[in-house]
Amino acid sequence: MNPSLDLPGLGDRRLRLPRPSGGDPGALPVIAGLALIAVVFGSLNGHFLSSENLTNLALQMAATGTIALGIVLVLLLGEIDLSVGSVSGLTAVVMTVLNVHEHVPSGLAVLLALGAAALVGLAHGLMFTVLRMPSFVVTLAGLIGWQGLMLYLLGRDGTINLPFDGPISTLSDTWLPTWLSWTIVIAAGAAYLATVLLVRRARARTELPVSGPIPLALRTGGLVAVLAAAVAVMSGDRGVPLTLVIFGGLVVLLDLALRLTLPGRWVYAVGGNAEAARRAGIPVARVRLLVFVGASVLAGAGGILAASRLSAVNQSSGGSDILLNAIAAAVIGGTSLFGGRGRAYAALLGILVIQSVANGMLLLNVDSSVRFMVTAGVLALAVAIDSAARGGRR
C-alpha cells in the first residue's frame, strides 16, 4: 500500500514512488464497490435491479444523502458534526409546527426552519472557534440538546402530521415526466460539454496546456450514459423523483462551490493545514463558522426531505441510524476523516452504497442485525482505504 524505498546517500529521506492522482484513491474504490453490490444482489434477487426497486432506492437516498453532504463539509475541515441527525429532526419539527400549527405558508416555513438550522450551526461554530471547544464535544452536546428541544416542541402528542395534499408532502410524491427527464439529461450533457470546451478554449488562449479531445469526449459520454441509464430505469417505473433531482442539484452546486469559489478553496486549505492557512492570511475562524452553518443547514434540508417523505414528524425524526448513515456515507464515498481531501460527490456515492446494501439485504430478508454488521464492514473498509492513502503520503 505504501510504495516507498530507501535510497543510499539520502540518509533517512524516503522517496515516494509516483502514484496515480497523487496518492488519492478518489472515487475508484467506491465505484468498484457499487458494481460489486449490483452484481451480488442482482444475482441473488432478481427484483433488486428492477425499475421499481431502484426508484425506491432513489427515493430513500435524498434525505440522508443531503445530511451526508453537510458531513462532507465538516470532514473537509478535519472536524466532525455529531448533531446533524438531531438538527435535521429539529428543523423538520420547526417547519411542521410553523406550517401546521401557526399556518405559515409552506415555502416560508421551510425558509424559517432552515434559518433556525443556520442559527444552530452558528452556535456550534462559535463554541468551536471562540470557546475553542473540540467539535466532537460541541456537537455531542448538540446531538442531545437539539433532540431535547425537538421533543419539547413536539409536545405531548409526539407526532404532527403534514397535510397529505400540502406542498411539502407533494414534494416527495412528484415525479418528473419522461420528456422532462430526458430534456434534463440532454441539457446537462450539453452544458457540461459547452463548459469544458469553453474552458479548453480559454486555456488555449492563455497558452496553458489543454487535454486532448478523447478524454473530453469520454467524460462527456460517460456523464450522459450514467444519467441516461438512471432516467431509463426510473422512467420504467414512476419516473425520476423530484427529491432525487433536488439532492443531485445540491451535490453539483456544493461541488462547484467547493472547487471554484474562494470560500471553497479556503475550506480545503484550512482542512489541509490550518496553521499554514492562518499564516497565509486566510480568515480561519470565519471559514470554520461558515462550514458549521452549512452543515446544519444541509442537515435541516435533509430533515425536511425526510418529513416530506413521511408526511409527518414524530419523536424518532432525525433519530435512529440517520446520523451514523450520514457519516458512513461521507466516509465511504471517499471523504478523508483527516481533513482536506474529498469531494461533494462522496455524499452521493456513499449514500448509494449504504442504501443499496440496506435495500438488498431487506429484499433477501436478512435480519437487521446482519445488515448492521455488513454496513460496519463496508465502513471499516472505506476508512482503511483512507488511512492507507494517507499513510502513503506521510
Binding site: L10, G23, L260, G272, A276
Partner: protein, 245 residues
C-alpha cells in the same frame, strides 16, 4: 557599496531571563546573499522572527531602504516587502502547486477563483525561476522536499518583495535537491533581491552566500566576505575559539 535594503540596528530581545538577542546589527543588500550562521541558541531564528514580525524586538530599530519601519505583525513585514519562508514551509499538502502559490491571496472576481490567471502566473513564475515541476495540478504532498522548498520560495516572491528571509532552506534535503535549492537562491540574488539564508551547513553557506554574518550567544560575532574568508575563521567565530585563544 550600496545602501542596505533592510537593516536591523542594535536589535535586542529578551524572553524572561534569557537574552536571546543583544545589540545585533545586520545589513541586507540588494543582489546579495547574506548567510546567518551560529550555533544552536545563537539567536538566528529570533533575529529572523524579529525581521518577519513574528516577534517584536524590545530594543533597537529596523530600517527599510534607510527609513525606520514598525514591524509588529507578520502582516506588517509582508506589506513592507519582506517575505519569509519558515522552516516548516507553511504549505497545504492536500492542495496543488498553483493553489499553494496563491494561498490566502487568490485572485478572484465575485468570489469566483480566477484559476486560469493563477495557473498562467504560476507557470511563468516557476519557469523564470527554473523550477521544474512536471504537473502543477498534483498535490504538494507528492512533491520531493526540494520541490516543496522551491514552491515555498516561489510563493514568497509573488508579493514582489525586496528582501527574502529563508530559514534553513536546505535542512533535510538530499544532495541533488540541495543543489537545486541553492541554484534557486542564486537566481533570487540575480533578480536583485536582498536574501538572508539561515544555515547550519557551512558548505552550503560557502556555495551560495556573498557575506556571512555570525551570531554567538545572541551577539554579533563578526561579518565576513565569504570569498575572502577561510572556513576555519567562520568556525572559530561560531564557536568563540578566537575569544578563548
Amino acid at each position: 557599496m550600496t545602501a542596505p535594503v533592510l537593516s536591523a540596528q542594535g536589535v535586542g530581545r529578551t524572553f524572561g531571563a534569557v537574552r536571546a538577542l543583544h545589540d545585533v546589527t545586520l545589513d541586507l543588500r540588494a543582489g546579495e546573499v547574506t548567510a546567518l550562521v551560529g550555533d544552536n541558541g545563537a539567536g538566528k531564528s529570533t533575529l529572523v522572527k524579529v525581521l518577519s514580525g513574528v516577534v517584536a524586538p524590545d530594543a533597537g530599530r529596523i530600517l527599510l531602504g534607510g527609513e525606520p519601519v514598525r514591524i509588529v505583525r507578520p502582516h506588517d513585514a509582508r506589506a513592507l516587502g519582506i517575505a519569509t519562508v519558515h522552516q516548516d514551509l507553511g504549505l497545504c499538502e492536500n492542495l496543488d502547486v498553483v493553489a499553494n502559490l496563491f494561498l490566502g491571496a487568490e485572485p478572484h472576481r465575485w468570489s469566483l477563483l480566477r484559476s486560469l490567471r493563477m495557473e498562467r502566473t504560476a507557470r511563468d513564475l516557476l519557469a523564470s525561476l527554473d523550477v521544474r515541476i512536471p504537473d502543477l495540478r498534483t498535490p504538494v504532498a507528492s512533491l520531493s522536499g526540494g520541490q516543496r522548498q522551491s514552491v515555498a520560495i516561489a510563493r514568497a516572491l509573488l508579493g514582489e518583495p525586496r528582501a527574502v528571509l529563508l530559514d534553513e532552506p536546505t535542512a533535510a534535503l538530499g544532495v541533488e535537491q540541495t543543489a537545486q535549492v541553492l541554484a534557486l537562491i542564486r537566481r533570487l540574488r540575480d533578480r536583485g533581491l536582498a536574501v538572508l539564508v539561515i544555515s547550519h551547513n557551512l558548505a552550503d553557506v560557502r556555495a551560495v552566500s556573498d557575506r556571512v554574518h555570525v551570531l554567538r550567544l545572541g551577539r554579533d560575532a563578526g561579518v565576513f566576505r565569504t570569498g575572502d574568508t577561510a572556513t576555519e575563521t567562520i568556525v572559530a567565530a561560531i564557536t568563540g575559539a578566537e575569544a578563548a585563544a
